[in-house]
Symmetry: C2
Subunit: 361 residues, 2 copies
């Protein structure tokens, strides 16, 4: 049966001060009325039964996640005691689902991307599920057709086609090679070559298959995860989870497994995708008025253009004479930045840490 | 004896959102730790006994003014029922001080200017007092040596010198003519001519003299003010004040009297003066760091230059990549503006009125 693993451990410092350590990006309604994690779980409706959804987040975020996702059973909420990237997260999820479903297939996905339409996402996941039913040893990943030479994504080079079903379904290729985030000139080459996709971080595989891959490439990690899984249904769970997880090396599933695995397929995503890497991406999702402004909250704009304002209905923001600016107001902190500095918003968090102004992190 | 009349009726829309209808400019600590009206009254220390200070403000502001000026006796606090510009304000003050001091000399001054050093201000007022003791029919005004061709001030053309005491005291001239706020080209001519001063709105005269001038030029205004003064020590004060004051035409003392009066002298102010016409004037007073930024409140600046930030210690403002910007944060409203638009800040108030967003006025 199909299980969904929603990875919700991101900290989203690029959205400071709207995103905080205690309220990261995935828990914010950045692209609409629902939060990104709520959209992610809503998107599974009709694809995965709620009893087979597992959300893995930071333990400190569990109360908020629980409040936002009342449909997910308590057993499906996992709170990591510390941050260890995606490989330990996915390995543990695989061990946990196997306890009740030895044939489990896992659809693994981030919790903070915008994906529309949902039906095309579900169709693509079903196609991936069919692939791993037919070839249980295969790891399936989803790639996004690049629209510009992005430097902030990993790339997947498509190899030979694995199916000709490109009319109703999406194109599937063997993965020739994974590529790290490239410099601009290399990204330009990838775009021109036409057979490179952005790595979306969405995967489908048999739980047993990913565990075999971990056993081959990250045996120590897997051993510790097995200790945690063995203690899961005992009163030792919290202690063992905290001790063993902390001892695991943080590593991404791409680096730990996918780049080494012999049989990886990539499906060209048949849906629109945006990882919401910053405020301009949010503005793209929300749209803008005829002056190019994107406004959320109570605002009065005078002679302002191409400006993003994000505030609440309780606080008025007035912008006057602004061009290409970003204004984010929250109850205790406000950011005013030139949009050319959008990539540097995460630097604010670094500076706040240096200053010891922890109440604003 | 010398009486001080502090005019505190201004609304200061140029400092929105820091200034509001309920908390205008003169009640804010824009240039230091004390508010402008507190600085104004502090400046009278050693010049005018507190029993002879009268503060005329809007009636709705009386509670705040009372709280800021505990040293001013209750009898010295006058709350106008409506706004009628400076002539009715000054005429009423003259009538009220004459009740107890028929020889009263009045020093009339705005409550929202920066004047330093205080000792030179007191010296100049004493000089004006000496002039009107010698020539009781003379109206004395103070002019400021222009430093740039300002379009936002009225000008006073100096006529023949009235004294040669220019070493220890300030130069005094007969007023040749008052000039309205000029266009830029005319202001340039005034500056080049060298015998024009900015009209500071600070005056010294005998109470009887200004009332004679009002009798000559604004007889109806004076009649109504006399009705108010006659009811002042009765239980009809509030009713008569409200009715008669509302019926008076709003008019400035300059336009009502000074431009017509035959014997007006102007003292070239021997003190530094700033009417704090906007945030850049505040920044001049407060000074700036080596990047040209002027900051009040909790702030983190990253790559920002020539930017003014005004917030509280309770709310963090982060600026990133800003040039020549203005950020003013208050609990319920925030303004972000290009400093080139500083003169237009008052337009925000007009727009808010149009929108009916009265809670932000």
């Amino acid at each position: 049966m199909l299980h969904a693993i929603v990875m919700a451990g991101g900290s989203g410092t690029r959205f400071w001060p709207a995103s905080r350590a205690a309220m990261p990006k995935q828990l914010l309604p950045l692209a609409g009325h629902r939060t990104l994690i709520q959209d992610t779980v809503d998107r599974l409706d009709g694809l995965v039964d709620e009893q087979r959804i597992m959300v893995v987040t930071a333990s400190r975020l569990l109360p908020v996640v629980r409040g936002q996702l009342p449909q997910v059973p308590e057993a499906g909420l996992v709170g990591e005691p510390c941050k260890r990237d995606t490989a330990p997260c996915i390995g543990l999820a695989a061990l946990l689902v196997l306890r009740h479903d030895p044939q489990a297939t896992m659809a693994v996905m981030p919790s903070d991307h915008v994906i529309v339409p949902a039906e095309r996402f579900r169709m693509a996941i079903r196609q991936a599920e069919a692939i791993v039913e037919e070839s249980p040893g295969r790891l399936v990943t989803f790639g996004i057709k690049p629209t510009y030479p992005a430097e902030s994504f990993g790339y997947i080079q498509q190899g030979r086609p694995l199916t000709a079903e490109t009319v109703l379904a999406a194109a599937v290729h063997a993965v020739a090679r994974f590529r790290e985030k490239p410099p601009a000139s290399v990204a330009e080459e990838y775009l021109a070559a036409g057979n490179y996709l952005w790595n979306s971080g969405i995967f489908v595989w048999k739980a047993t298959t990913i565990l075999e891959a971990l056993a081959a490439h990250q045996p120590e990690c897997l051993e510790r995860l097995k200790c945690i899984a063995a203690a899961w249904d005992t009163d030792q769970r919290d202690r063992v989870f905290a001790e063993e997880f902390a001892a695991i090396k943080a590593i991404s599933i791409d680096y730990a497994v996918l780049e080494q695995a012999p049989d990886v397929a990539v499906i060209e995503a048949p849906f629109a995708w945006d990882d919401l890497g910053g405020w301009s991406a949010v503005a793209r999702q929300l749209g803008s008025d005829r002056m190019g402004n994107t406004i959320v909250g109570k605002h009065l704009g005078i002679d302002s253009v191409r400006t993003i304002v994000h505030c609440s209905e309780d606080h008025l923001v007035v912008t006057m004479g602004l061009e290409d600016m970003l204004v984010v107001h929250t109850p205790d902190a406000t950011l005013v930045a030139d949009r050319a500095h959008e990539e540097a918003v995460r630097r604010v968090v670094t500076e706040l840490e240096k200053l010891g102004w922890n109440e604003f992190l």
